[in-house]
């Protein structure tokens, strides 16, 4: 009854699709995949991280979105129609990650892995990386927003089969 291969090969495709859908539909922004040579040297300044956990009978995982502060500002302005304060920028980042996780969850559900989402947590700081847990599938992709030079952002999705 092994469906693990379905989760594996599609995870970066799935996460890319989810990201594109959220950015184009909700924010009307086009994004491009970006090859990061050295992750640690890419970002100066702070990043907003938002994580949402995915939990189901057969799977457990996390969706992590990291945005440069300036990009988070811009996205907040698009969503709310005006510049937002620190709290609003955090809320928007969390909601964005929630929507992305929602799309990832929908695809997992369609592949036979139903799950529920946790509440988004938001933090601020340097770039972080999800620790690969055992047999988990992990996808990490970097992106830039077309026409915006606010810096690149990162999306990581980790899914572990637990049953």
């Amino acid at each position: 009854m092994s469906n693990s291969s379905v989760v594996t090969e599609d995870l970066s495709v799935t996460s890319g699709r989810a990201l594109r859908e959220v950015f184009s539909k909700q924010l009307k922004l086009q994004i491009l995949e970006y090859q990061v040579i050295d992750p640690l040297s890419t970002f100066e300044g702070k990043l907003l991280h938002s994580a949402v956990s995915i939990n189901g009978e057969k799977i457990s995982g996390t969706v992590l979105l990291q945005l440069p502060e300036s990009l988070a500002h811009q996205i907040t302005e698009i969503m709310l129609g005006a510049a937002g304060d620190a709290e609003e920028i955090r809320d928007v980042t969390g909601e964005l990650c929630n929507m992305i996780a929602g799309r990832v969850k929908a695809e997992l559900h369609a592949s036979g892995f139903p799950a529920t989402l946790g509440t988004p947590t938001v933090s601020i700081g340097q770039r972080i990386a999800l620790q690969q847990r055992g047999e988990a599938q992990l996808s990490s992709t970097d992106w830039s927003v077309e026409g915006h030079d606010t810096g690149n952002f990162n999306l990581q999705v980790q899914i572990r089969i637990i049953a």
């Binding site: 909700q26 709310l80 809320d91 929630n98 929602g102 989402l117």
Partner: protein, 131 residues
Amino acid sequence: MNPKILSVDDSKTIRMLLKRLFTPFVCELFEAGDGQEGLDVATREKPNLIILDYNMPVMDGVTMLRHMRENPELKRTPVIMLTAEASPGIIATVARLGVRDYVTKPFDSDQLMEKVARVVALERRPEISEA
């Protein structure tokens, strides 16, 4: 009397976004952060439309809908679901409880407003010039 719109979502971002979408129009906007609060506000204000999320603490959207359908005052209140939840099972359950439309997140604001227009006739505020 001005149309009343109630948005029920635990995400402050979504509530603020909806507020922004409705600001250009003549209407009264109300908010609730969960299904229980949603019921309280709906009972008090008798809104012309409820925009309802599914995943919320305390009481989720479907439970709130069920309660509404059992309440003669709220039974006919039109509801548009706005949620990240897209599983066919939930959609079927919600459809059986009778909602006017079901919008999944992420969503196109224009399309949402078109659906709103089908349910509630709104007028633009005169001081708002073309956006």
